[in-house]
Symmetry: C2
Subunit: 394 residues, 2 copies
């Protein structure tokens, strides 16, 4: 059994913690105790989709959570209600200036049939930090978690009866003030929708190919790459399309700086397991202090798990394409993978870089480190291994 202390409670690195500027909002939060639940009528409930044919992001559970805010009155009452379209003025700031942010998290139905959230405090810590970076109002993360627990409870039958599928949750926060001008939004809406998602690897691990082209940069020092703002995503769509159409690569490997540091893979953090220059077996992922890496919840969880093993070195530090190519040539690069909420881990078998195909031997011996991390984390998420990381719903 893995026992994880409460002391690992989520705290972002100092560099990413945002201080709220005075005029953004009142400091108070909405309260779970004010939550109003408006249940769907039975005839309004959607049929559950075939759990074997779930397409990510296309199926939605029956209910959503909505919490309005405005600068004059502060937070309104949280409401759980049937999923419905929004009605916004065409000048709403979210349509023009990308005043928007989100989180991705999941509800798991464990081996014991109980439904649980995975480290929701980490998501709320990051969401609050991103809200402040976006000049949207702060709120109490614990109150939000209680509202989300209730939402999942109301839509409990949407959590797949499966230890490979989940109910994906999408907390979202948008600026809705209907006025043009690049300025703080005086109206906003915090909401959560959800939907069932299938196993990421229904037929076993599928390693991916990456396009690594230094002419595209995802995030930069002095920018907002460490925050889950919508602004970080739109610019990547065209590059992702180029990777797929021109190079048959499923993902983009985002490089940074003159030394072509590896930063992220698609929308995932990146990990490399190798024998380093000192001959040590080391799991390495880029550090958060530069502000260009998203502080992933899966990222920090994998670091925590691997550190407990005690038999490999675990480092948060930069590494670049020269390190990768040199290690490949010397047979020291063992495994390379992305890590994120959607897939847990995503093994890499090829990188296209400056005209070369770099073959990465991740799957050669069955990706033992990648697999071990996957197994340990999913065992926690589906409650095979008890852990304080899991928070029960109801």
């Amino acid at each position: 059994m893995i026992s994880i202390q409460r002391s690992v409670r989520c705290v972002l690195p100092r560099a990413l913690r945002m201080r709220q500027l005075s005029s953004t909002s009142s400091p108070t939060s909405f309260k779970f105790s004010d939550l109003e639940v408006q249940q769907c009528k039975p005839n309004e409930m959607a049929p559950k989709p075939d759990p074997n044919n779930l397409v990510f992001g296309h199926h939605f559970a029956d209910h959503m959570l909505e919490i309005p805010w405005n600068a004059d009155q502060g937070w309104g009452k949280p409401v759980i209600c049937p999923v419905h379209n929004f009605s916004f003025h065409p000048a709403a700031k979210v349509f023009h200036y990308a005043v928007e942010l989100f989180e991705g998290m999941k509800a798991y139905r464990g081996y014991d049939q109980k439904v649980r959230l995975f480290r929701p405090d980490c998501n709320m810590e990051r969401m609050r930090s991103t809200a402040i970076r976006s000049s949207l109002p702060d709120f109490d993360g614990d109150e939000m978690i209680k509202c989300i627990q209730k939402l999942v409870s109301v839509d409990k039958e949407w959590v797949p009866h499966s230890t490979t599928s989940t109910l994906y949750l999408r907390p979202t926060f948008i600026g809705t003030e209907p006025s043009l001008g690049v300025s703080v939004s005086r109206e906003a809406l915090l909401y959560v929708i959800s939907g069932p998602v299938g196993p990421y690897y229904p037929t076993g691990f599928k390693p991916v190919h990456l396009l690594a082209d230094p002419k595209y940069v995802r995030a930069w020092e002095g920018g907002c790459g460490a925050y889950k703002m919508g602004a970080n995503y739109a610019p990547t769509i065209n590059i992702q399309l180029e990777a797929l159409e021109k190079h048959h690569c499923q993902q983009v490997l985002w490089l940074y700086g003159p030394e072509h540091q590896l930063t992220e893979v698609g929308t995932m953090n990146i990990f490399m397991f190798w024998v380093n220059e000192q001959g040590e077996r080391e799991l390495v992922t880029p550090p958060l202090d530069t502000g260009i890496i998203l502080p992933g919840v899966t990222r920090r969880s994998l670091i925590d798990l691997a550190r407990k093993w005690g038999d490999i070195k675990v480092s948060e530090r930069t590494f670049n394409m020269k390190d990768v190519t040199k290690a490949l040539n010397e047979n020291r690069l063992l495994e390379l993978f992305g890590a994120g909420t959607a897939c847990v881990v995503c093994p890499v078998e090829k990188i296209i870089y400056q005209g070369d195909d770099l073959h990465i031997p991740t799957m050669k011996d069955g990706a033992p480190i990648t697999m071990k991390l996957y197994q340990e984390l999913t065992d926690i998420q589906y409650a095979k291994t008890p852990s304080d990381w899991m928070v029960e719903v109801d």
Copy 2:
């Protein structure tokens, strides 16, 4: 009279021209000839606001233009209809991944009472380029201009009867597909709203103070700073707030790179008029080829006007804070100003940089170059000076 040849028709620099990837859309465009006009009923028309109390972005004319698109059927019919709220699913991509872009342009009522647009081909060129960068579908810019002309014609009484005020137009393009996942939006909406805006300087030029803090970076080589995507704006709001609240600066001066190049001011391009190291009187603005500068329509127009004078050197090249401080010390810095659609020119009188207040003598002799550019451009816009840049409405 200034005569401007058709040969100056808008073409973006090669580096910013985007090629459409195959799966983004069908190549066809909507057509002006399909336009349907649904006029407001007289009782639906809003009262015109007091032209002396116009707040930017808060007043809207009665009608809007809407053109839907989806990946299966391509472009739908353009419709001019009463301004109304949109109804979108909470999973619409615009709320999550900032799939959105816009333009800012104006309709002017000239001295001869005729209403005209200023270089709409430049806005459409940039909008199409930004759409492709955003994986949204391309369209025919001339068809769009005809639709916009009609919109302005329908709301002609909203164009202020004034040679200092204008009807601000906001073409906007958003991805509306209701599905989660960072990918090309298979549904989109192109629309235009408009509203009257007052004179930017009702009581004469008001020079601004700028916060220049190199720890904040607006855009990066390899990013999307040269496109008018919503993603470029949300990250600036918090910095703008800090400039105002902590430093009493109205705008942020965006620096770049280890040498602290001057790139933009708030949402404007930047110009410096100085005596350069070679002793030449030179008007300088950063070049577009790095991909970090928005190709402003006012920017290129001011360059064109100043080049016609023939008595000063006009350069598109980088300059940095060391150039600024050295020139200030040697009394060679004469004028510094922002340039954009909202204000035309915006003189700068102070920069706060690394703990120092740099006093910029822009207004010392009445800002002769800044003023001359302002006068020449507004004379064209309000049709005091005939110019091919102006396109009549009706």
